[in-house]
Symmetry: C3
């Protein structure tokens, strides 16, 4: 049900401190910790001895010590020490998940370790790029990662869900185009000469009509970068141009809950710390409006598993995303590599 051979954001770097902590990912219990020399580690969160969660244990140097009977495991998952024993058999181990720490996030590979491919970490380079500034956070959503993904692939919902923030009445008047590039989905909408939404007006200072361009790029299963370009419309009497990147990394907790990592970056007023905080707070409030809808949508769908919704032109991106995801999961089940590179050209 999940694509496994790919990188998910498992934690924020700041979450890994002196104490290990537990997080469920793809319905597996994972313990994260940082060795005393600073390396991030992710292990299956169940001691091989009696099944206690390692996350209630203690970090000792490069190892984690089980809080029940003191078994110790290294970053590779091998048991390094069994109290009262002089040696440890090689098969005493817990599963280790490859991790890469980048852009303030801990990426974790939940699939076949033999296929781990560092080149396939999603591109979130805007975070930490000196040309960009912003801030992010983590939200828990009581809904499937596919419902969260779909929410981001059809932004017309902004008009109804985000009345006070992102809404622009015009959004439903402009159609979207959606296409597949390799396994990636791209959805675009261009809205010329519209009133700026409260959100972007407040951040960019627009008072006159703008040309507003949205480009949503999905890298399956659930990495979504939204590029928003807002510029004063020609002849509007203003001359402002701002860009935003909304980075969305959706990590399934279970089939019906999601760890939603996000970051909002902008390419202007980069040193304005107050704007940073304001933008963060506005975006967080906006996402919490989505959470409200998504959790209730999940509830309704739970009540009738066979139910399928209606497909409209605005749902093109969702249709393509579903199709690609099904194919990738099916391929992975058969033992093929999970995600093709974009250079394979269009398919679908």
């Amino acid at each position: 049900m999940f694509l496994k051979d790919c990188w998910y954001v498992g934690a924020c770097s700041t979450e890994l401190g002196a104490r290990p902590f537990a997080r469920r990912i793809l319905d597996e219990p994972v313990v994260f910790f940082r060795t005393t020399d600073g390396r991030a580690v992710a292990l299956h969160d169940r001691c091989a001895h009696r099944g206690a969660p390692l996350s209630i244990g203690t970090v000792r140097g490069a190892e984690i010590e089980c809080g029940y009977h003191g078994f110790r495991y290294g970053p590779d998952g091998q048991c390094a020490f069994m109290p009262g024993h002089h040696s440890v058999a090689a098969d005493v181990a817990v599963r280790a998940y490859p991790v890469i720490e980048r852009w303030g996030w801990i990426f974790v590979w939940m699939g076949d370790p033999a296929r781990t491919d560092p080149a396939r970490v999603p591109d979130y380079h805007w975070i930490g790029d000196p040309d960009w500034a912003g801030k992010g956070d983590l939200l828990w959503v009581g809904a499937s990662y596919t419902l969260v993904r779909d929410n981001l692939l059809d932004l017309t919902h902004a008009k109804y869900v985000h009345k006070q923030t992102l809404a622009t009445d015009a959004v439903t008047e402009f159609p979207v185009t959606a296409r597949i590039e390799g396994d990636r989905i791209r959805v675009e909408r261009f809205m010329p000469r519209i009133a700026a939404s409260p959100f972007f007006a407040a951040l960019g200072g627009y008072t006159c009509p703008v040309d507003h361009r949205q480009m949503i790029e999905l890298e399956p299963p659930a990495s979504i970068v939204i590029s928003v370009c807002v510029a004063s419309a020609a002849g509007s009497g203003e001359n402002i141009a701002t860009e935003f990147r909304v980075i969305n990394a959706l990590t399934p907790e279970t089939m019906r809950s999601t760890h939603y990592f996000w970051s909002l970056q902008r390419n202007f007023a980069r040193d304005d710390a107050a704007l940073n905080d304001r933008m963060y707070q506005m975006n967080r409030d906006t996402f919490l409006e989505d959470v409200l809808v998504l959790e209730r949508q999940q509830e309704r769908i739970d009540g009738d598993r066979g139910w399928a919704g209606l497909i409209t032109p605005a749902d093109q991106g969702i249709v393509l995303a579903d199709r690609v995801l099904r194919r990738l999961i099916e391929n992975e089940r058969r033992g093929f590599s999970a995600v093709a590179s974009a250079s394979d050209g269009p398919r679908g």
Copy 2:
């Protein structure tokens, strides 16, 4: 498991305001709202587009607008507007439940709309009748509607459950008679020359022995009117006569929970508002004593599905009610009309 072709009370009139609200009925999600011109509407609470509950949306004139992507539905359930579209296909719709508003309650027909029969709204004419006065309310009970029904069909429980209110020690000394009239069940008990129960003594002012008559009428599946006539016994030295109607409309939420709508009416001191409030409070407290027992009874029964209780003469009404209910549900499953009129004569 539920009888569907019948009227259930779905809401109190006062619950329908400017905002839609959700209630589960017969394990289906229903959204209730009132159009701006005051008409009560009940729809299946799930947008045909993406499955979001309509109950988090907004009423717009005669329509309800989904809070996710702005689809609008009229009182007949037809989608009247899809944002970004010029027309809407006829098959874009949600199920509409016929409703009738009467006596301060919203009756809803959960079965086949083609069989909707306004003449079959249960008779609760005492509510709003100038010869009667009283008040009612809504309780949620974590027990099957059949357990609530059975509670009302055997009033001997008053002696044990309602020690401070309805109890009269004599109640177990007098047998009941139960009979079927058409599909209706009638259970009667006459208790001559007994001490008035605390409840009726307080309301009617009795200090001497009374003749107390109870008549319980069940209209399947779960509409119960209890007529209570209390009169000073001959030669008791008092001369008071009072009547009460306890109206009980039980609406299954799920197989193990019930929306319990009730109203308590009296035929005396009709202008006494303080008595109204006192009678309401006493009755509510009494019903909450029942809720306590019913929820624990449900728990016990849940633990052992095959279990069947003991049948005593006081349970005659329950036996008949179970028999009629099984027959009606079976008939409905086969496509027959659900409830025969009383003029069909006795069966069972």
Copy 3:
């Protein structure tokens, strides 16, 4: 899944007062009450009439009266009175569980009443013995009784779970011996010349090295007495000797929850009431540390039913306990007597 033909502690004597109370044991609902002349009674907690729990009823002399319709049951479970009836049929009854009250605990026999054997009440004679002093309590644990049992059969966990109390770093340096005697398991560990643990140092006043002996005796399914003998090591300059008995009576509530009755007894300073309270509080805090681990261990195991842990030499007692328990449950299922006496000699 449970051994039934044996005595479990069902309640503390102090829990049985004027009001009946409910407890789930071996996943069956049980009501406990004390007759007005002081006899402890345990019945199936479900009225034979309508299934209401008797535990919301009232004690009347030697009988319990159902709180719904007034049925009364005696200590043998027979219905003694049905309101409105002159006689009661012999088959109107609820199941009665044999009980024995001893050492401040109510032992209850959950199996075949015909096999009830008072001689098989576990030996907890230290409670109430004038040569011993101490105190006990009841804890609820959200984990299987076998996990709680295993916790007690391998005390090396003290070093990791009870760092501030029972821990002695040396514990993992000394192996255990485990053996079967009849159906009983005995696990022993002798730790000569070690530093006294904070717990025993505080209670016994040790400042010098001690010889510390642990003997754990399991009487299946889940009665465990731990004998702890701590004595100043020869030549240590101190001359103190203290003994403790930790009595653990584990009563399954469900397959994944346990009523944990315990008592901690000592053979010195018997009149020191303050020491009593201090020892009680320290032990309770220690057990709460176990509860934390056990409940999370249960969670992890729930997530993967097929999972089996690793067996180490320290787990010998657990392996034997599992083997005996399986045999006894299998025997009981076949109709054999459940627990052999110790005089039958070793088996396994």
